[in-house]
Symmetry: C2
Subunit: 239 residues, 2 copies
């Protein structure tokens, strides 16, 4: 399609979805976004996304790109698309992107947040939105672990062996733990991420494991557990 | 039942419920709490609640009382009951109450919060949890309205005509508006509340109406709209 390239910023509650990527018979974010695009644009093509989030993972700053012809101007695209989207997905912003812009390949960095609810009793409001962790956590130790992450490492200990990644090194730009009332948040930014990488880093840190040896290309079997999807948020993509 | 009186503090996401009160064929908070009590206590009786919340209304500090025999000691009641409750209801605390304690009749005051999301684009995370209000709001005017509320007034303009209340006056102890990032919250405490009273106060203020004449016993037809249930939280009950 010869048309305008749109950059869309998306927010979604991943609870009701089998992740981003379209699958037959499953409710996916890509599926509902494609339906909305078809309702709003006479012609569109080449939908791409910065981070193909897994089932149950949320986004507050996912970015998609798509070529469109006809339809509303970019400043009216969010309202038009939101009218065609279900309540758990929203287009927060839309703008023209330069020719050749691709949400995934043009991205220089992604930032994720992992939310942990640390109280003894679970919360109905954090259900599906944060990991409930009633046991004690050593925040100093968690911070020491996070401090090891910036830089270029081989992260194969933190991604399923069967996942097909050509390159298993990634460059972490920043990582840390923040306290927010009853919650503890792990934040991490990197050039890109291996599948399950944030969740497995969180799971391994929660086990109290020493990350240092694992960052040197140890096999997956040496890594820790994969924390549940519900705590993870794709927060920002940088271009 | 001759037994201990328990005071339970409950939190719930009201989205999936037809309100507190048990109804045949409907999922209600009372219904799931009764099931949990039966799973944990050999004998129990006299379940009462401070505020019989409507369908879709949430609670962060609801209080219930119940007489129990046998079962776990109060300090272990939350975990035992929570294991038998669905994810959208939780017992946050349990303690022995004095003989004769009744969650509703012993309550001296209740406090509610109404959450308004004021951004142009709706949020997937605030869906069912706050009223989305994309239009401008005059916070000064809202605060002037709230300042009229403390004291004893006839609130019949703010409750459905068909509701059976013997007395239509209530004493408001405090009321105000708070800003929380992208949200605006109305908070109000009173000895007790008429049905729909908080929601209709909010709806009337959002319409920009002058509350002063309405607080003198005007009929319901003079009051404003009833704001949706999803923004309302029963936050605290005082004894």
């Amino acid at each position: 399609v010869e048309g305008r390239v749109l950059k869309l910023t998306l927010e979604y509650d991943g609870t009701g979805f089998r992740g981003w990527a379209r699958q037959p018979g499953a409710r996916t974010i890509e599926g509902v976004v494609r339906n909305a695009l078809s309702a709003v644009y006479p012609t569109w093509d080449g939908l791409a996304v910065a981070g193909r989030t897994d089932a149950g993972v949320h986004a507050t700053g996912q970015v998609a790109s798509v070529s469109v012809q006809g339809g509303p101007p970019p400043e009216r695209a969010p309202d038009a698309l939101n009218a065609a989207l279900p309540g758990d997905v929203v287009v927060a912003a839309a703008e023209h992107a330069p020719d050749g812009f691709h949400a995934r390949f043009s991205a220089r960095a992604r930032a994720y947040r992992y939310r942990i609810l640390r109280r003894r009793i679970r919360s109905p409001f954090a259900e599906h939105r944060a990991l409930w962790w009633p046991r004690p956590l050593d925040l100093d130790a968690l911070r020491e672990s996070a401090a090891l992450l910036p830089g270029k490492h081989d992260f194969r200990a933190f991604t399923p062996t069967e996942t097909q990644h050509d390159v298993l090194t990634r460059t972490v730009l920043a990582a840390g733990w923040e306290e927010h009332d009853e919650e503890l948040h792990f934040t991490i930014a990197a050039d890109s991420f291996l599948r399950h990488m944030v969740r497995t880093l969180v799971g391994t840190m929660l086990e109290g494991r020493d990350l240092a040896p694992l960052l040197q290309g140890q096999p997956r079997s040496d890594g820790g557990m994969t924390a549940p999807a519900c705590g993870l948020y794709l927060e920002r993509v940088e271009y």
